[in-house]
């Protein structure tokens, strides 16, 4: 008699459905949090080991006969990674300085310059390279993978990687003189 008076507990959302909903929500929040933190981060910071990436090279701009370069193959050398684009006017300010610096360091074989062409079209890029007589390896940033890895904020930006593959310096904006480039490279050669 007494037992029959107890009303059955009201059934809510099944436990498995609650778990799925919460896992989904937490996952969604985690994705938003990661996205926001990435957006607030600046460029890759000095001291970080640069992960391997592959840069396809425009024909005529190969290095050591290679049509694509893996950054890990360049361990033991100082690597100067310059992001540029043919539509970028500030890039033109430093193009001659970079090429002069490349000609200065190329014979030693201890320094490699890499030009990463950001969101550009190949015909225009070739016109730019020819105009400034650039001869160091250059190639497109396919699917913007490299620029996304470095979290660049614009062009030009230049990254100096030491012999151990560790990022040492970052130059945001154009170089104004060749001495500025030397000042970044020379300490890494010691």
């Amino acid at each position: 008699m007494t037992e029959s008076t107890i009303s059955a507990p009201r059934r809510g959302v099944p436990i498995w459905a609650q778990i799925i909903i919460w896992v989904f929500l937490v996952g969604l929040l985690a994705i938003v949090a990661v996205g926001l933190s990435r957006a607030q981060q600046g460029t890759v910071q000095p001291g970080q080991v640069i992960d391997n990436f592959t840069l396809p090279i425009y024909s005529g701009y190969e290095w050591d006969g290679k049509s694509e370069i893996n950054i890990e193959e360049l361990r033991g050398k100082v690597v100067v990674i310059n992001f540029w684009a043919s539509w970028c006017k500030p890039c033109e300010q430093e193009a001659t300085e970079l090429q002069t610096a490349w000609k200065e360091y190329e014979p030693s074989g201890k320094v490699v310059f890499l030009g990463v062409d950001y969101v550009d079209t190949e015909p225009e890029a070739r016109v730019y390279l020819k105009k400034f007589r650039v001869s160091y390896p250059n190639g497109p940033d396919l699917a913007t993978r490299i620029s996304q890895y470095f979290r660049i904020k614009g062009v030009p930006e230049t990254y100096f990687v030491d012999k151990n593959g560790v990022l040492q310096n970052v130059q945001i904006g154009p170089f104004t003189s060749i001495d500025q480039i030397r000042a970044q490279i020379d300490p890494l050669l010691k």
Partner: protein, 162 residues
């Protein structure tokens, strides 16, 4: 005899040149109009100028992109081929609409449905709190005699142990 041979070679040369010209003209195709270029351009976004479709973007980078579309159209490339090229070069984020992947549509749909379901549950609880409270009171009141029997039994057991 000699003049007829010269005429023959001249005709042959003219035919070859005409053939070459026709061939090059057919592969090049007519110059695409701005409308044709913009029809594809409005489906693309340049990563440099966020939130501005390529067909109306005034920057130098976007002008280069439109020129490239024009060149590719002149080479008789299809719309799909051109968009595919841009995705390979600059990533899927250049597309105005996400690629037709199941996940692109499934995740937002599931998220909206889940959100709607949770809102509905929340509103149900919010709108009828008094009704729920009275239900709870009733159930408590009804459950009391049942609980009392058990409590009495428990107390009796405890007394026996003492």
């Amino acid at each position: 005899m000699r003049s007829s041979r010269i005429t023959f070679y001249a005709l042959l040369l003219a035919l070859i040149l005409a053939g070459l010209w026709t061939n090059s003209a057919s592969t090049q195709g007519p110059t695409p109009t701005d409308d044709e270029v913009n029809r594809i351009a409005k489906q693309l976004y340049c990563p440099v100028c966020e939130s501005t479709p390529l067909d109306v973007c005034p920057t130098e980078a976007c002008r280069h992109w439109r020129d490239l579309i024009r060149t590719m159209l002149a080479e008789s490339k299809s719309e799909t081929e051109i968009k595919q090229y841009f995705v390979e070069q600059y990533g899927a984020r250049v597309l105005a609409e996400p690629p037709n992947r199941l996940i692109s549509y499934l995740v937002p749909t599931v998220a909206i449905l889940l959100g709607a379901f949770m809102l509905l549950r929340g509103f149900q609880k919010w709108i009828k709190p008094s009704m729920m409270e009275s239900n709870l009171e009733n159930s408590k009141r009804e459950a009391k005699p049942f609980q009392d029997v058990y409590i009495a039994k428990l107390e009796e057991e405890l007394k026996k142990r003492k």
